[in-house]
């Protein structure tokens, strides 16, 4: 059954990303997600980006469903179910958070809860998400086009930072290729890593197999996976499954 929540505020974060605030009694953990249904349009998974009394979804416009969502305004309704899945596991280790694009939405509530330095990466400066959200800590910016901060890919900046500081764990969410690189770096340097993955989701509750990657269901076993699991995911960064369940290159 869906719960209907009312949008109380819409904040435009970047030219392609908006945050929708609402109230709901559920008590999500950082890294968990909800299924959002826009009746007559689509249903899709969305991480929780604010977990307090006032909650938020931070949504990047990528296709028909998210485009429709971007048209919604204060007072409009969302049909939601969740929270679903396994979120991040908080650790005492010295942490680096690495978010790419809308991946910052997933990481943000975790960053709110624990210390650590932050890398915010995006294609270009306008797309840097939540650059003002994390006060009182080191926030590194990276853009592919160099329009702000480090010029280059997130993993390149991460490699640099790992020379400067002894991070013991990396929390990451973003484009799969970025995460793949970061996981490889973590493996080679022997540091810990947790990554929140994205896959096509139909059911969201662990029965349809559409979100699976090498036998792991992103919707219930993840979306956050730990290092020992990530190392076993041969398809990560290489293959995904399409709507028909075909294994296709990323």
């Amino acid at each position: 059954m869906y719960r209907v929540v009312e949008i109380e505020e819409v904040v435009t974060e970047t030219p392609t990303i908006k945050t929708f605030f609402f109230r709901d009694n559920s008590e999500p953990q950082p890294g968990q997600f909800y299924m959002i249904w826009l009746p007559g349009v689509d249903e899709f998974p969305m991480s929780i980006s604010y977990i307090g009394e006032i909650k938020g979804f931070t949504v990047k416009r990528v296709g028909a469903g998210t485009a429709r969502m971007h048209q919604l305004q204060k007072g409009d309704k969302l049909w939601i179910r969740g929270p679903y899945g396994r979120g991040f596991r908080i650790s005492q280790k010295k942490a680096l958070f690495v978010g790419g694009g809308s991946g910052m939405a997933t990481l943000a509530p975790l960053i709110d809860m624990m210390p650590g330095d932050v890398v915010i990466a995006a294609r270009t400066r306008d797309e840097l998400l939540f650059r003002k959200r994390f006060a009182g800590r080191k926030v590194y910016l990276a853009t592919d086009d160099g329009s702000e901060g480090f010029k280059g890919f997130a993993h390149e900046l991460v490699e640099k930072l790992l020379h400067q500081e002894d991070y013991e764990i990396i929390y990451t969410c973003g484009p799969e290729l970025m995460m793949r690189k970061i996981i490889d770096i973590a493996i080679s340097k022997g540091i810990d890593v947790q990554a929140s993955l994205e896959r096509l989701m139909k059911c969201g509750i662990g029965i349809c197999d559409s979100c699976s990657i090498n036998g792991y269901r992103v919707c219930v076993d993840g979306p956050v996976f730990f290092k020992d699991e990530l190392v076993k995911m041969k398809d990560l960064g290489k293959y995904k499954r399409d709507k028909a369940g075909r294994r296709v290159p990323l």
């Binding site: 059954m1 869906y2 209907v4 299924m35 249904w37 009746p39 007559g40 689509d42 249903e43 899709f44 309704k77 049909w79 179910r81 139909k202 059911c203 969201g204 509750i205 662990g206 029965i207 349809c208 197999d209 559409s210 699976s212 090498n214 036998g215 792991y216 269901r217 219930v220 499954r241 399409d242 709507k243 028909a244 369940g245 075909r246 294994r247």
Partner: protein, 299 residues
């Protein structure tokens, strides 16, 4: 206490993964096998890749699930690798197929055999796909032809999965008696409307009801058919705890399939149910589960 042989296939327990649940990819089936499934049935596979219906395709109810996945599947030509991977699990892998003609079913069944499937399950019963499933499965002459056509062309066992959405259950069961085993039931045709949205929840509007709420329908179907056909029956519909499994056995099932319970109790549901069955049997002095088959039949 739980291992047995059916159609010449060796199962370590009678708890088989039902078609359509966590069985699109070989690796996921392996995971299910690791968690104790005695066998796995693949998702129903068709001739061509199918994306299925748009989301929402699933709806959670307090006592079960409503789904209209829409027979999404990668297509038979892309499915060999998945069977190969699943077979590494060391338990029987049953290839489920759906079609609308005898030739279609035969083609798919032969491919499954070629890929190494241990048996084929004919989906004659999906309640929400136009031109397939129960639309085929309530045409008594056609189902008989399909079963016979497939039987002639392959040498691995053939299971026929039939629909409860009919007044002719026993007639259909008799029509498919040429199969090596009968599987019942598939989901019950149903729908849900979200009153706040003022529209059906599933994008396909209609879907199939599964889980605990259909158990009394499934038990009835098994009980009714058991007395009319000679072939083994595989019971499915709402099996969630050991006591549900025993109820189906007593109604006349020889083996069982488990679907929605994976959602209700997690992927470890197979070993949980197996353990519950063993505990119950020990307490009640049964040495092997086959002693329970048909026990509740009143003649």
């Amino acid at each position: 206490m739980l291992s047995f042989t059916l159609n010449g296939l060796r199962f370590k327990n009678p708890l088989i993964l039902a078609s359509g649940i966590l069985d699109e990819s070989g690796e996921t089936m392996l995971k299910v096998i690791e968690h104790g499934a005695g066998g796995v049935v693949t998702k129903s596979i068709g001739r061509k890749p199918r994306e299925g219906y748009e989301n929402p395709v699933i709806y959670e109810l307090p006592y079960g699930l409503l789904n209209a996945i829409g027979l999404a599947n990668p297509g038979i030509e892309n499915y060999g690798e998945e069977i190969k991977v699943a077979k590494k699990g060391g338990v029987p892998v049953i290839g489920s197929v759906f079609g609308s003609t005898v030739e279609g079913f035969v083609y798919l069944a032969k491919k499954m055999e070629e890929y190494g499937a241990d048996a084929v399950e004919l989906n004659l019963s999906c309640p929400h796909a136009k031109g397939y499933g129960m639309e085929v499965g309530t045409d008594i002459a056609l189902v008989e032809e399909i079963v016979e056509g497939v039987k002639k062309e392959i040498s691995i066992p053939v299971w026929a999965k039939i629909t409860p959405n009919t007044e002719n259950l026993v007639k259909i069961a008799k029509a498919v008696e040429g199969a090596d085993a009968l599987v019942l039931i598939n989901t019950v045709k149903a729908m849900a409307i979200d009153i706040e949205a003022g529209m059906p929840v599933l994008s396909n509007k209609f879907g199939g009801l599964s889980g605990p709420c259909i158990k009394p329908i499934g038990v009835r179907a098994v009980y009714e058919v058991y007395r009319e056909v000679e072939k083994p029956i595989i019971g499915v519909g709402g099996i969630t705890y050991g006591r549900d499994a025993i109820e189906y056995l007593m109604a006349g099932a020889t083996a069982l399939q488990v679907g929605t319970a994976v959602y209700l109790r997690g992927i470890e549901v197979f070993s949980l149910i197996a353990k519950e069955m063993e505990e119950w049997m020990e307490k009640h002095g049964y040495a092997h589960f086959t002693e329970l088959i048909g026990l509740a039949q009143v003649r």
